[in-house]
Symmetry: C3
């Protein structure tokens, strides 16, 4: 495996001082991710390649012989899933992704272990655990911890790739990748993501998925972004500044019914009241006008897709689930496939997978 060696030439402080997009050079090698730490390390060509790879893998997986091929790719490697923050859905998605590639998984979920109680530094703990494995998939409440560990290990005899499976309010790059992959699939026969209108709905102020997806969409041409929310939950000014800088068209609105009529994709989100400053703060906001009810299915276009990062509460009626345009359950499964593709890329297996696909299924 080739390493982004230059990471070890930086001090931790120097790395931190870089702009997000500048970090890409330290996390990628030759257009492939080595670490996967931030959404901004992926450019258009990497996103396109990952999506195509995920589709190859998804189709290969339909047959028993295909599953065996995939399962033989990394059956000599072991992965550690270090989840110090509970998250069953992301955990299981990565766990299944490892299993599909034959990568043998082990997990650390409870971090109140004897070692940390014995006064060991978190860096020593993760370095110790890393000794037994070939890749770390890591979810932590601390912002930047996955990045810190990538930097720490790059200065050792045994650097290994690190995938960020969510770090606090900060980054959750594989969620952004699965959203992009869902859009890629949805518009596969409609000219792709370029030129589409994406409508974000709900708690746009506090949802980390909206921020990441909005940022990744700037890689595409002529994508219009519409942000629909009650004013107190409208998207942050930093996101808008980023869009302006990238010369991307955007609109703000609080008219849900009007906005969804123009949408190619509707990205619903739930109210994140766990971040309320004062208890019950968001419950005083009338969010019912921003919920997708069954009758809205008549208002949207035949090709429009309804997405949701899940979990949902009441912002989408369950009666909507049966409509083919409701793709949020497929989105869950896309998350697994894009993670398989990501891990395969990290271990330099993209070409092997594509060759096998071309030979047997192409």
């Amino acid at each position: 495996m080739r390493h982004p060696r230059n990471l070890m030439r930086l001090s931790w402080k120097e790395l931190q001082s870089l702009e997000l997009r500048e970090k890409a050079a330290y996390f990628n090698v030759n257009g492939n991710p080595y670490h996967c730490l931030i959404a901004q390390q992926f450019d258009r060509s990497m996103l396109d390649n990952l999506g195509r790879l995920a589709t190859c893998i998804r189709r290969t997986a339909k047959s028993k012989s295909g599953m065996r091929f995939l399962g033989s790719l990394l059956d000599h490697k072991r992965a550690m899933l270090y989840f110090s923050q509970p998250s069953s859905r992301t955990f299981l998605s990565f766990y299944a992704a490892c299993q599909i590639l034959g990568l043998k998984p082990a997990e650390v979920r409870d971090t109140r272990t004897s070692s940390e109680m014995k006064g060991e530094s978190p860096e020593d703990t993760v370095r110790t655990f890393s000794s037994y494995f070939d890749i770390i998939i890591m979810r932590t409440p601390q912002q930047g911890f996955a990045e810190k560990m990538a930097w720490v290990l790059s200065n050792t005899e045994r650097p290994i790739p690190i995938i960020n499976a969510g770090s606090g309010k900060d980054q959750h790059p594989t969620q952004a990748l699965l959203d992009i992959y869902t859009l890629q699939r949805s518009f596969e026969r409609l000219g792709g993501i370029d030129g589409k209108t994406v409508v974000f709905v709900g708690d746009l102020a506090r949802g980390r998925t909206v921020r990441s997806l909005s940022s990744l969409l700037t890689n595409y041409e002529q994508v219009r972004q519409v942000f629909v929310a009650p004013p107190p939950l409208q998207v942050g000014k930093d996101v808008l500044a980023q869009l302006a800088q990238a010369r991307v068209k955007y609109e703000l609105s609080d008219n849900f019914e009007e906005a969804i009529r123009q949408a190619d994709a509707i990205y619903m989100t739930r109210i994140q009241d766990e971040w309320d400053q004062t208890p019950g703060e968001s419950s005083r906001i009338d969010t019912d006008k921003f919920a997708f009810k069954k009758h809205h299915l008549d208002a949207i276009r035949p090709h429009t897709v309804i997405m949701h990062p899940l979990p949902r509460r009441t912002e989408i009626e369950t009666a909507v689930d049966a409509d083919p345009r409701a793709v949020y359950w497929r989105q869950v499964r896309n998350g697994m496939w894009i993670r398989v593709a990501l891990i395969a890329s990290v271990f330099g297996l993209a070409e092997v997978v594509r060759n096998n696909y071309d030979l047997n299924l192409g």
Copy 2:
């Protein structure tokens, strides 16, 4: 895999209104279980087939090549063990059963996950998790939840089989299957289960295993059922009504020493004081007369088997363990084999396993 498609034609209310035996048509396909949700879905022929399959598998597993054959059957599939209620023994038995078939297991044990805290419905949670796996093995404190999920998923694009690994006081079908399999093995050279006398001993009022086994035994001819318990712990009238309806001979007794003399199988159970209405209620009942002591070994017949679903307390002296008629430890292992057979049946592998057995070991 063939599905019991008609399940989706029923509403949840309609399904719930069916008698237990009527549900079989919705859980089985062509005499094989698709879902395994209730003991009553198994008829005589299914029980016989499962038992024979378990024996084929058990013998196949004795050699390394046999284990490799078994381990190749489902190495392209993944299982989720969703155990929201702790149960190490049932969990490990299923986990090992998956491993024997090469089926890659993942587990969810703690359900106080972020998602549920975030207000997601239990149905959405399980549906999300189901996206990553090919079968769900599920233990929950809520009665009927496994059945509910089978129904929910049957109405989606991706229905998958569900095995009930225990749902509250309600059902624990694989425990009943392992008890039947233990009887089948014990009487293999004695004409099978037909015509035998099964003596149930202990807390018959509250043990779910006794209820299920008693019910499944009505599939056999001329089985006599004897219920031996202190009066306050005697078996429920609904169980007896069921036996009367099926025209099965039964007796009630509080004379342990007399009853075990006539038994072909003695099914011991522990006092389930966790269900006491008032604390210490059962401790005031003299249960010592209903314990199997070492000297009772002299009173029972040479072929009589002593069973126990475990865990035990003092109702069987440990000195009894060494006697060959004490089969409760073998019963534990039978539980693993019958679960392997069940999963193999669910995935339609019974014939492949039997053919391999006939070719190599028959």
Copy 3:
């Protein structure tokens, strides 16, 4: 697999009354471990064989084909990791060791299970769990529990090997094996462990690793042991009595700087204040003079190795990590390799591994 059958001829009381070294005959078969329960069951020849085997395995593991060979050795077997005491690092090390050999792992970590609450004896619990697996790797807070289970299972129809992964303050034999293996590797081209000076530093009164390693070193010729600690934390008299009996040279000192100059290996340990009789007791001892600082690297010899069982606090400055003589991170990985070698030995695979090595890499 051959069993040390004679274990079942002893009563538990008789087994307990034996001296540690006398027990070896009951745990080993023909110079191979069957159970691994105490450090004292390993003699010089077993230690040499295990170390050589670990090196074969480590080198075999460098290629994909080698990993596949290793992964095929026990892919028909299952291991239970019964860790009733939390310990992520030992757990993960064993877990990875199982995965390397293809041995399918399952884990029991939380022992407050329903069964134990239901009044089952710990022996019944472990015997039940053992039914599903081919080996038990066990960590418990109770002294002697792994030994007890080995004895219990030896009297059943299905005895299986047990590996002690740490039992209270008592024994942690695989930690001692990994320390020996690290010394073997470090002095591979320097004539081996014989004749070397090993300097133990830190909390020698309470560290179980120091006691075990000191004991195992008596298997080697002319090893000088130096114990460097503040007087209240100096090594116990029983350890010194053992050394005197084995006619091993030792010294006590509280002069860290002088001692490390003569060392071939420096074995650093942390203050084990969790064993303090009164809170803060050890914090009143000045231990800073016993810490390895960066400038000490100039004082030690070019071939001297610095070891630490980890976790560390401040007794080794992190700036020391980058020096090639700091082998404590390699020591972690040695732990994994020696555990692979141990499990392979238990299953009688040492010769197969060595033959494959000689054929392909020797």
